[in-house]
């Protein structure tokens, strides 16, 4: 591909730009995704090398970091050798090992982006960014603003450029410093090629110039591009296109030059003697890159190997014949890994499952008084259903500190005289005794616990905005069946089956949506849990399922719940529907949950250095709760940090393994799905969701400055949709350093329990899914359910794999282990003592 074409194709270039710009939506819709998804068509290593050369990203840890890991045995020497031999051949072992461990490399940064446009400064002595960016960002932010400003952008409903034109036409002041740019705005020659002709001159360089220009502020350009393609990311809709942004920026650039040098300046290309390297020219892979990528492989396999050795070694629990006390579904989320373990330990007769936290019901949710619909399913799905809430019992509280009156002239005068002293008191209280207030984003607030939901549709004509209100019985049955079959629970139902969604609570956290359930489009999963339970408790739905071979006994009842993963609290819904006997059982189970949550809080707190962990679980749990409502706590929880694994298997495969909260678990029983039909569905969402989370963490960790959001401490909220540093900085997509600092950047290892040939056939069915594996963005291992043999997916095949680790240790005393270190723990076998 080339960008320097003799004929400039505007559509094509804008299309390319949109492809490469960050795709992060507004803060309220924060969804994890592969930061480098625009390179996903390439092999992982090539993509990294290319993106690095194009945009200057750092794509690995530093060479020193790897060498230190090696010294400290965090990279296994045997595996290091194996990796070299696999990739370079036996004969090159010595040479490459020397390169990796000894040789000094000078990192040479030849970032292609920005080189050409950089000549404004080099040749013309014009600091274009300093002249254009502040005003451009300010205008963009004012235009897109969702409610910080009091005075809205005039005429904003007319679209970006039209609104600007309107201001320029009817007002006596101008955004431009000189006449020419303003005149151009109203002339017929205000197209991208016309303006580029003035600025750049040489048509073959137009495309490259636009890339340089837009990537000088990829945060803002990315946001505009996202708003253009999915306007619903802003509640208060704005019409804007990347094309409009480019035109306006080109005008501002012309204006800046006119201002700086008068109207007689030559186009950029005339003064640039050597044509810059084409942005998309083939990238040569450097030796340093190869060295780093070998290190990365060795680093990853050092961990994977432990896990795989654990799979071989750990005893599978015997199939239990006794009755289950309860069954509980959780989201596949890695944060639920430890809670399930604690539950299973406290009540060995319970059974837990993992499934994406929207529980296979996709819909929009509109709470009572809500003016908008919120999506409650994975972001790519486009639901046709609407669930409405009514009869709320609690009222929303308000906080006068966010009132706009505090900024105005005379009310501001009153406010600061009175409210000011109240603020001092509030600050004092929150610092010494944190409590939640209206400013806290609480997961339990997402849906009023006692509100009624319109889940069942009895009249298909009941439609609002093109969405059917509620589900009909057959639609309910399909969804319930899908969830039960794909997770393998089709018989032996316990008296109570819990469906536990999850959400998070935090304060002072613009990235709050990133902490909620990704499968519910960055919202807590409470509504979904209630909806699926309603369906599963519906007699007619059960009749339909019975006809399809799934017989849910009459005594069995489904109960929805929400797990707050920050506070480690749980809220059950519609308990009053339980039968008397089940209610009694439920009371007992509640205690088990409470204890498990205490233990879970203690396990989590080993990462929080500021909590004294050497106390009882209850006391530690108390401190963990406080964190989530403390204004001064930038790490209410650590979210997906350290995630590394994704299991698509029966629980028996991992039940006896201690995985340190690093695994996503999707329950799946290969016996029910011999052809891989359900497996495909699982993979279609698990690969992008878990892979996306994992890779966003990976890239935010290895280059927190360019691919992450940097430290969140100086962040300034822009227009309620993004964050920037200071007041005139670029938007910062990606994750802030506080979210990723304890994360080990390794790719996801997906482990499927099935026969290799079935898996191979399944992943090859859809190219979008296959891409994740064949291009090595996610590693894949298959465990043969009958022989327990391991095979690794490599270049379209499944060669066998034998772990280097012969033995993993036994987990003895759990709580002691948690108190011992805040570092990552090794994979351990959970012995009978702990069962």
């Amino acid at each position: 591909m080339k960008i320097q074409n003799t004929a400039f194709d505007e559509k094509e270039v804008i299309h390319l730009l949109k492809h490469y710009l960050p795709e992060q939506a507004s803060l309220k819709d924060f969804i994890h995704q592969n930061t480098l998804q625009s390179f996903q068509k390439m092999k992982f290593q090539n993509a990294l090398a290319t993106s690095s050369a194009l945009f200057g990203y750092k794509v690995f840890l530093g060479l020193k970091d790897y060498r230190n890991l090696h010294k400290n045995n965090k990279i296994n020497d045997a595996i290091l050798k194996w990796v070299i031999i696999e990739r370079k051949g036996e004969s090159a072992l010595y040479e490459w090992r020397l390169k990796m461990c000894e040789q000094e490399y000078k990192r040479q940064i030849h970032t292609r982006i920005g080189q050409f446009r950089g000549h404004w400064k080099k040749q013309f002595k014009v600091d274009m960014d300093a002249l254009v960016h502040p005003i451009l960002f300010r205008i963009l932010c004012s235009y897109l603003d969702q409610g910080i400003s009091i005075w809205r952008f005039p005429a904003c409903e007319k679209g970006f450029l039209n609104a600007i034109k309107e201001l320029e036409q009817f007002g006596y002041s101008s955004f431009f410093r000189k006449r020419r740019a303003k005149n151009l705005l109203f002339s017929d020659e205000c197209t991208i090629p016309d303006l580029l002709k003035i600025l750049v001159g040489d048509e073959s360089l137009f495309g490259q110039y636009l890339f340089d220009q837009q990537f000088a502020h990829m945060g803002w350009s990315g946001m505009v591009s996202v708003v253009e393609s999915s306007p619903e990311t802003l509640l208060d809709k704005r019409i804007i296109t990347l094309r409009e942004l480019i035109i306006f920026e080109l005008l501002l650039e012309i204006d800046a030059l006119d201002f700086h040098s008068g109207e007689n300046w030559a186009p950029l290309a005339t003064r640039v003697k050597d044509k810059p390297v084409d942005l998309f020219d083939e990238v040569e892979i450097t030796e340093l890159h190869e060295v780093l990528s070998l290190w990365q492989d060795a680093y990853e396999w050092t961990y994977y190997d432990q896990v795989l050795a654990g799979l071989v070694q750990a005893q599978k629990p015997r199939v239990a014949n006794h009755k289950k006390t309860f069954q509980s579904f959780f989201c596949i989320d890695d944060r639920e890994d430890s809670l399930r373990r604690h539950l299973e330990k406290l009540d060995p007769n319970c059974e837990t499952f993992g499934t994406p936290g929207f529980f296979n019901v996709e819909f929009y949710y509109q709470p009572e008084d809500g003016k908008f619909f919120t999506k409650a399913c994975p972001a790519p799905l486009m639901p046709k259903f609407l669930i409405k809430g009514r009869n709320n019992r609690t009222r929303r509280k308000q906080d006068i500190h966010f009132s706009k009156h505090s900024s105005s002239f005379y009310t501001g005068w009153l406010f600061s005289q009175t409210l000011g002293f109240w603020s001092a008191l509030k600050l004092f209280i929150n610092i010494f005794k944190p409590t939640s207030g209206p400013a806290t984003a609480l997961s339990f607030q997402h849906m009023d616990r006692y509100s009624a939901l319109s889940i069942e549709n009895k009249n298909p004509l009941d439609v609002e905005n093109g969405l059917q209100i509620g589900f009909t019985v057959p639609e309910m049955a399909d969804r319930l069946e899908g969830m039960l079959v794909s997770t393998g629970l089709t018989k032996e139902f316990a008296p109570i089956v819990y469906l536990v969604g999850h959400g998070a609570s935090s304060v002072n956290n613009p990235h709050y949506a990133a902490y909620d359930c990704g499968a519910c489009a960055g919202r807590p999963g409470s509504v979904n849990a209630r909806v699926i339970c309603y369906m599963a408790n519906h007699p007619e739905v059960r009749t339909v399922l019975k006809s399809r071979g799934i017989d849910i006994p009459f005594e069995t009842q489904f109960v929805g719940a929400l797990h707050d993963s920050t506070q480690d609290d749980i809220l059950f819904f519609d308990e009053d529907l339980l039968s008397k006997t089940n209610m009694e059982k439920h009371r007992g189970i509640e205690h088990v949950f409470a204890k498990a949550l205490d233990n879970n809080a203690k396990e989590r707190s080993r990462r929080f250095l500021s909590i004294n962990i050497h106390r009882s679980s209850e006391k530690v749990h108390h401190d963990v709760r406080l964190r989530s409502v403390s204004l001064f706590e930038p790490r209410p929880e650590l979210n997906h940090a350290t995630n590394a694994l994704c299991f698509i298997a029966r629980r028996s495969l991992t039940k006896n393994l201690f995985l340190d909260r690093r695994a996503f678990h999707n329950s799946y029983d290969y016996r029910i799905d011999p052809t891989g039909k359900y497996l495909l569905d699982i993979l279609k969402s698990a690969a992008p969701v878990c892979g996306g989370i994992n890779l966003e963490y990976y890239f935010s960790r290895v280059d927190n400055q360019k691919l992450g959001a940097g430290s969140k401490l100086p962040h300034n909220v822009m227009g309620l949709f993004g964050v920037a540093n200071g007041i005139d900085g670029d938007l910062r997509p990606g994750l802030p350093s506080q979210m990723i600092e304890v994360h080990d950047p390794i790719r996801l290892l997906m482990i499927i329990e099935h026969f290799p040939e079935v898996v191979l056939q399944t992943i090859q069915q859809t190219p979008e899914t296959y891409e994740w594996f064949i291009n090595e963005w996610v590693h894949l291992v298959v465990v043969d359910p009958e022989t327990n043999a391991l095979s690794v997916f490599k270049e379209g095949e499944f060669p066998p794999y034998t772990p280097f680790n012969q033995k993993i240790d036994l987990l003895t005393e759990e709580m002691q282990l948690f108190e011992s270190t805040h570092e990552n723990l090794p994979v351990l076998e959970i012995g009978l003592v702990n069962r």
Partner: protein, 624 residues
Amino acid sequence: MTMQVVLQFFILIPLTGFVLSLLIPESNEKLISSVSFSTVGINLVGFILFLFYWLVKGRPVVDYNYVTLYQTADFHFFVDLYFDKITAVYGLVGALLTFLVTVYSRYYLHREVGYKRFFNTIIFFYLGYNVIILSGNFETLFAGWELLGISSFLLIAFYRHRYLPVKNAVKVFSIYRVGDVGLILVMWMSHHLWHENITFLKLNNLALLHYSMPSGAGVSLFISMMLLLSAAAKSAQLPFSSWLPRAMEGPTPSSAIFYGSLAVHLGVFLLLRTFPFWEHQLSVRIIIALLGLTTSILATGIVRVQSSVKSQIAYASIAQIGLIFIEVAAGLENLALFHFAGNAFLRTYQLLVSPSVVSYLIREQFYNYSARARSIEVRFPKALEYTLYVLCVKEWNLDSMMYRYLWNPLKWLGSKLRFFTLMGVSLFFVATYLVGLLCFFYRDEIPIAIAENLPILFSLIGLIMVLKSFTERRWARKSWILIIINHFWVVLAISFNEPFSIGQSALYLSGVVVAGVIGFLILVRLRGLEGGIDLHQFYGYSFKHPKLAFLFFLCCLGATGFPISPTFVGEDLMFLHIHEGQVLLALITALSFVLDGLAAIRLYARIFMGPPFKSDSEMAYRSS
């Protein structure tokens, strides 16, 4: 007497805390935060106890001639401490907020690179703040003013390896330096007015006696205007307002305490403190009130269009401070103090909870959205609405105006002087300075008409040197030398004015020379380590050479008369010898001092801050 003695502790405690906090190893977060916590905590408790005692004693005005730093027959440079109602309110609010923010930051800053640096700077800031509010004369106040300026620079540039924080830190520092011109000239003029380093106590008493100014209204007006200049710069009033939002680059708690509350209200403090001086000048009171009013109106308009939360709070605060200016001008001291406290608390809290604004307002929007909700401005005629909107978004061009009318002309001047190389500078200096010295020794032979103008000429040469240094883009060492040379010209120029002892010159130059030589050696060493340094770009060498960076920073402070260097006293001495009528000379000298400080900080920023040069660590894009 006891009360007098106690006052010094409110400076000594933060000073001790600051020194202690410098000594703790960087990795020991706990100890660092404990020291800061105890420093500010002890100070707070002590202050409250003192306050009680003071109230019980019937709120006497306390004045304490703390320590004399330098004395000659006609010059007495001393640190004076002062306590009255204004100090009480500022002290209490300051101690409370600093304490809260220190506790807050203990957790908030956890694991942040620069944890130690942050707390060092916070205590340093607190020290400066206390020096200012406890100061009993202009000299002490000015010392605090300087401490505050530097700590402000350091906090804004806390993320020193990103481009924008460093750029904005230099920008804000430059505005602070403009304010310093005002104070320097106030000190100069008041020497001549009262023939001593007058204390605020005396100033008060003079005012009580309705003492009429000996030199007439002109001088008084001049002093008042200079005071207003300083106050307006510090409190972000017109035309300086645009620096405040741009200062919000550090971690949120530091922005909260600095720019939300304490530092930004010090302009008000200066006005309150000097109120007795200008209260009988009606014209001054009207000017101050008008400035406050205009600022308040413009800032309110700007607030309404701000789409980022911190800049909105900043402008809202500016608008309130404008109102406080009016209150001060109207003589409503109590109201102003009350208003200050309320505004400081409110803005601190608003800034601290500013990240919550997303979840809160999005929720509000979700439940209360109305597409037709419009603000009052839509009722304006269209042309007016649009005109005002654009002006407010552009902040009434305040930011670009600062460049256009203040810095760009200076840069333009500097860039016209392109005749020097490093060698050239040295030769030129030696040659011309010899001529200057010759003139000095044979000054009796020189015709009076010429001799009279020599001080101006020499101080102009000094100014040109420092201008050149300020705009130098190629050689770091040259820029540094020029900074140092400037001081020599100042001494020479002023020694023509009247004979004064060699000792005074020595006092003045001692700090400069020591800092100058060490600084030069550091630059030479750095050149040896890293190769040539031009000033076209940032180098971020504090990343690789933190020790050199720290040393060089000290040198910058020393060479520019920061109150750790004898030069600080010397500067005051020099002004003593500038005659009352020599406004031009005073102006040139003041300007060269100010530019000197600015050039040094710019040099430091370019060499040691910004994105690290040729480093393989992660680096942010310039625009982020």
